[in-house]
């Protein structure tokens, strides 16, 4: 059994690796691993703008998608980010040019189809708008901007250009999340009336990011691109005016799911937080935040709590949707995806029969540790139903595939500009609420452009 499991795992890995190797022109013809040959017309020429950690993650996923050809890499950190990614792409036989200045890249590269924007948040608006105006489709990392004004301009530019813009909320393309929304919430309404949402992303305390000293960027160049120092360049997420802090970096992914699964935007938010652990000079955004949203859905009021702390990783990250008939606990990490039935809910056998859920594993009767037969002080833990969807790919791969398929006219974007904008409005308001120290309302028109 174990050998079979290992073999299956290896086969899947082999397939992904073969795809990457094929892209690199390193091995095998496509038919040798059971995939039909794709015509050259399906090739999509891509540039990467921003070759930092997130850019690398996206490129790694792209390398596992057939017919994606990188033609250019742009990053101001020539001696590290740009060099690393360029050499990595060369190892996969992606012939490309490198740039420091994105304007030069857009002027020189004549056969691009799309640009992946993975620069710091405060650059997203300028970069994305310029690429759209250059007639290119854009995959822009979330948050689509560090300001509402920037996000609004992006949406307008996307509309005016007629080009596709996918915002990088990758859970929107995750087959496990799609199953939960389409099958469990929309079709089966398995949770009944959702009343409460709870989510978190907790991380251990971390040191600030350093850099190889011999690869330090010249101060004039840093200043030109909006950074005061190398330290700030490396840790831009913590700085006001550059990033949005943990609520944006971490929370945005999950609060986006709140809006999606509740099929609504919030009415108000109240939040508390602060920089209580790190140096306030270098961690201008809050290192911990607890926020409560209020949603008015078609079924009624929903209160949604979200917490992110950066000093303790307890319980990691997840989202929990609680209704009067059940609870869905889901996380991007596949190790956490359970559905629990409330004792008063109708039987879920029919959902099991049609493949919406996998019934709880039957456990052998365990011997009680004490003489007590039943502890009546708390409700018995309900059995956990499982999701029938397996997803072992890199997390960002399906979202990128959705983007490329949309370019080919074979799919609809899962997170177009307007959706990304609604999430940006929802999330950026949390920082405002902390600063205001009071409940802030969302006006419906705030979500519209």
């Amino acid at each position: 059994m174990d050998n079979e499991r290992i073999k299956k795992g290896i086969n899947r890995r082999s397939f992904l690796r073969s795809t990457a190797a094929l892209g690199a022109g390193l091995v095998l013809a496509p038919e040798s691993f059971g995939q039909e040959s794709v015509s050259e017309t399906d090739d999509i020429n891509v540039a990467l703008l921003g070759a930092g950690a997130q850019g690398r993650v996206l490129v790694d996923s792209c390398l596992k998608i057939p017919c994606i050809r990188f033609k250019a890499v742009c990053d101001i950190w020539e001696d590290y980010n740009q060099r690393l990614l360029s050499r990595r792409l060369k190892a996969y036989r992606h012939e490309h040019n490198t740039y420091v200045d994105y304007k030069e890249m857009l002027a020189d590269e004549k056969d691009l189809d799309a640009v992946i924007v993975a620069t710091p948040d405060f650059w997203h608006a300028e970069h994305t708008i310029a690429c759209l105006k250059a007639g290119l489709h854009v995959y822009c990392e979330k948050e689509m901007s560090n300001t509402i004004e920037g996000a609004r301009r992006i949406v307008q530019a996307a509309r005016e250009s007629g080009k596709l813009l996918q915002i990088g909320h990758q859970r929107r393309s995750n087959p496990r999340y799609i199953h939960c929304f389409d099958r469990l919430l929309k079709d089966a309404k398995i949770l009944g009336r959702i009343t409460t949402v709870n989510g978190q992303w907790n991380r251990s305390a971390q040191l600030d990011l350093g850099w190889p000293k011999k690869a330090t960027i010249d101060t004039n160049l840093l200043n030109k691109y909006g950074f005061t120092s190398m330290e700030q360049f490396r840790n831009w997420r913590w700085y006001k005016g550059l990033g949005g802090g943990p609520i944006v970096d971490l929370g945005s992914h999950q609060i986006d799911i709140y809006n999606w699964f509740l099929d609504a935007n919030p009415k108000s938010v109240i939040a508390g937080g602060g920089t209580d652990y790190y140096d306030k000079e270098t961690h201008q955004w809050y290192d911990n935040i607890m926020a409560i949203y209020e949603y008015e859905t078609a079924q009624g009021t929903v209160r949604a709590f979200y917490q992110t702390i950066t000093t303790n990783s307890s319980q990691g990250y997840f989202e929990t949707f609680m209704g009067d008939q059940g609870t869905l606990v889901i996380s991007e990490s596949a190790s956490r995806s359970d559905v629990y039935r409330e004792p008063s809910a109708p039987d879920w056998d029919k959902w099991v029969k049609i493949g919406c859920l996998i019934e709880p594993a039957k456990k052998e009767q365990e011997k009680p540790e004490t003489d007590a037969v039943l502890d009546v002080r708390e409700t018995l833990a309900p059995p956990a139903y499982k999701l029938p969807v397996k997803f072992d790919d890199p997390y960002h791969k399906p979202h990128l595939e959705n983007f490329f398929d949309a370019i080919r006219g074979k799919a609809k974007l899962n997170c177009p500009a307007e959706v990304g904008y609604e999430t940006a409005v929802t999330v950026l308001k949390v920082n405002e609420a902390v600063e205001a120290a009071r409940k802030l309302s969302f006006e419906p028109e705030e979500f519209n452009i």
């Binding site: 690869a215 990250y317 997390y395």
Partner: protein, 258 residues
């Protein structure tokens, strides 16, 4: 008559015995003196043996290996790491590893060669430079798919443990990790495999039964059981995040072979 004869013989015997005893007394002293000297020698010899034994005992006396660990560092979006045959994390610090007194990292500063002569980032010397931190600038990235590095210890050593850090900025699993030692740099002579988690022989070095493991700041410790060798080779074949191969540091803990 007979009784008298016996009595005379008895008296003579006593006399002879007394004379003999008197004559032997100085000799006995000498002998005693000689015996004392020999005892001293014997004592000395015993002491030497004891010291030797103690030395031998010291050479096999086991103490916890002193492994300086880097700061833990997990950043960025977590990656999907559903990997078969994955070792369950201990959930607590690794127990002390006992090695003979005097065991130290004999790979520190030693020459490293590899299958990728032009690493994507970093230099191959970083593998033995003593820097175990997970940050950018502390690791070397080798090209995609199967790659190997070889450390020349410059002499034969009795190797008790190998501790390696591929990459601990992010939770990852490296595939087809095979660690071998040999007497020659080409790995032809006296090749011994210390660790192998290549379950399908994709590395061509044989099927291994060791488990996959998640990279952490603790590094992976391989019990080398005192194997004697000069060359250490480490292979890998990409990881759960990408096809690339990374090394932050490899420590080879041993003592000079005698």
């Amino acid at each position: 008559m007979l009784k008298n004869v016996f009595r005379s013989m008895f008296h003579v015997s006593i006399f002879v015995l007394l004379v003999f005893v008197l004559l032997l007394t100085p000799s006995c002293k000498k002998s005693t003196g000689e015996s004392s000297s020999e005892q001293t020698k014997q004592q000395s010899s015993n002491n030497t043996r004891k010291e030797a034994e103690q030395t031998n005992e010291a050479s096999v006396q086991l103490i916890p290996l002193d492994i300086k660990l880097p700061k833990p560092m997990f950043v960025g979006t977590p990656q999907n790491i559903r990997v078969p045959n994955l070792e369950k994390p201990l959930g607590r610090p690794r127990p002390p590893f006992l090695a003979p007194v005097g065991t130290e990292n004999v790979a520190l500063g030693k020459r490293v060669t590899g299958s990728d002569e032009e690493p994507i980032i970093g230099e191959i010397e970083m593998i033995t430079d003593g820097d175990k931190e997970g940050a950018d600038g502390s690791y070397v990235e080798l090209g995609p798919f199967l790659q190997h590095v070889t450390i020349d210890l410059e002499a034969k050593y009795d190797i008790y443990a190998i501790v390696l850090w591929h990459f601990h900025k992010q939770a990852r699993v490296y595939f087809d990790v095979v660690i071998q030692v040999a007497d020659d740099p080409d790995f032809v002579t006296n090749v011994r495999t210390l660790f192998n988690n290549d379950h399908d022989n994709s590395s061509g070095l044989g099927i291994g039964s060791d488990m996959h493991y998640v990279e952490t700041a603790e590094g992976k410790l391989i019990d080398a059981k005192g194997v004697r060798a000069r060359y250490v080779r480490l292979c890998s074949n990409g990881n759960s995040s990408n096809d690339l191969n990374h090394y932050i540091e490899v420590g080879v803990f041993g003592k000079p072979a005698k």
